[in-house]
Amino acid sequence: MNGDQNTPPGSTRRRAIEYFLGGGILATFASFLYPVLRYVVPPPVADLGVNEVVAGKVGDLKPNSGAIFRFGSSPGLLILTSDGSYQALSATCTHLGCTVQYRGDLHQVWCPCHNGIYGIDGRNISGPPPKPLTAYDVHLRGDEIVVTLKREA
């Protein structure tokens, strides 16, 4: 690479060559980077579009207690209140995504991570949760407790 006297540094010819070389190298790296970036993003998980699940059987729960059930890929909370009615909520805390639980002693839903408290209807009462828990519809089909997404009004 002895400097050619005819094309001193900064000349148009030399700059053109440099642009071609640099552009080629950049393009090469882009061609490495693109597949890698696409690769590291995980392929979408097939969403089964769950909008109805069987959360349990009548008699599984004692009054004034709750249990976690699977609602698609996220947890749900089924509560049997002291007066014998069922209530189903999303179990994912609206603060930072911990899974909540029913506290029989408080008659409330409690998130242990940051002491968030919700009412049985999902309303956020105290602590950091910014929003209520999503409430689901519950109905009985035979002895199965069926939980469905609330229809958008």
Partner: protein
């Protein structure tokens, strides 16, 4: 902007002192200079292995139940997963090829003689480790070919007198090749071997840096006779730029191979199925495999297998210690070593070809 950052760093860390040795380093220029590129290409391919290996780790599951399915998932569901895996497999094979080319070039150019004995030994150990990478990585997709190759390969270790059986149990994680073997091989492949290789590469590169490039005795003699033909180039940037061009070509070859001939996954291993017909190890083990195949089952009073394994082991040891059998420069290299090197090359090539063609 970049210049300002460099100046800032240089003021504090005196980077100039660090790269000074590279500025002084020169590379001899003669008609065989191109052989100097193979070590660097091998190193580059190792870098490709590290990057693609880390990418594969994002989706790979070790374990007899999930391994095959996870590789299948990588190849069918993950975007460009097939390409990443194909590059990892192809690059592994090319790396072993260039490592062998590097080893034989050092042998024929007599670069292993005093004072470079330790460079040769560290390089040979690296070659063994690279083959260990190949052997352990081959099992990870948990397909039929890999399963039986591992079965046979570890059984061969078991033939070594006295220490063979315990070594085989250690490698397999039990008396049989099972999911436990897969977990172990995974650990070797992604943790143990990379750690060892990084240490050895550092030593190897330090020695190359410290001792400078070797000039083949014949060319050295020509230069001594006629000093005006002696040529050198600066390592940095002149040789480095040429090396990078070689890497660029390597990337091209690698990308083309990986895209045009994507690596197969095969059929999931069934530990209770029969071995398929025509089963063979990877090409870089073929010469040993074929050697073992042609040794009779009993030679005099020794088991053929044991003879083969011990023979291969001793040959490996002799190869490792080869510099100590040769003369010290400036006296002429020993002829029989050149003869042995030619024989070894012909033997490895011939036996590989025989193994490839044999039924």
């Amino acid at each position: 902007m970049i210049a300002a950052i460099l100046r800032w760093l240089d003021e504090r860390l005196h980077l100039d002192d660090l790269i000074a040795p590279f500025r002084h380093k020169t590379v001899p220029v003669h008609r065989l200079t191109y052989w100097y590129f193979f070590g660097g290409i091998t190193l580059f391919l190792f870098g490709v292995q590290v990057v693609t290996g880390i990418l594969l780790l994002l989706y790979y599951h070790a374990g007899a139940n999930d391994a095959f399915e996870s590789v299948q998932y990588i190849m069918t569901k993950v975007r460009y997963g097939w390409l990443i895996r194909s590059i990892h497999s192809w690059s592994a094979n090319l790396m072993i090829l260039t490592a062998f080319a590097h080893m034989f070039s050092v042998l024929f150019l007599k670069a292993y003689r005093k004072p470079r004995e330790l460079t040769w030994i560290s390089g040979m150990l690296l070659l063994f480790l690279v083959m260990g990478f190949g052997f352990s990585g081959y099992l990870l997709p948990w397909n039929t070919l890999a399963f039986f190759a591992t079965k046979v390969g570890t059984a061969m270790v078991g033939q070594v007198p006295i220490i063979g059986q315990p070594m085989m149990i250690f490698l397999r994680g039990g008396p049989q090749v099972t999911g436990a073997t897969l977990i172990r091989f995974f650990g070797f492949h992604v943790a143990v071997l990379p750690g060892l290789v990084v240490v050895l590469i550092s030593i190897h590169l330090f020695l190359v840096q410290r001792l400078g490039m070797s000039v083949p005795p014949k060319i050295e003699a020509e230069w001594a006779e006629n000093p005006s033909v002696k040529r050198e180039m600066k390592f940095f940037p002149n040789f480095m730029l040429r090396e990078m061009m070689a890497w660029y070509v390597t990337v091209g070859v690698l990308g083309a191979l990986a895209a045009i001939f994507p690596w197969n996954l095969g059929v999931k291993a069934d530990p209770f199925g029969s071995a398929p017909a025509g089963i063979k190890p990877e090409w870089y083990f073929l010469f040993m495999y074929q050697t073992l195949k042609i040794i009779p089952s009993k030679v005099w009073f020794v088991e053929g297998e044991v003879l083969g394994i011990v023979g291969c082991g001793l040959a490996g040891l002799l190869w490792l210690l080869l510099p100590f059998f040769d003369s010290e420069p400036p006296s002429r290299p020993k002829r029989w070593i050149t003869g042995l090197a030619i024989f070894a090359l012909m033997y490895v090539a011939g036996m590989s070809a025989y193994g490839f063609l044999a039924k």
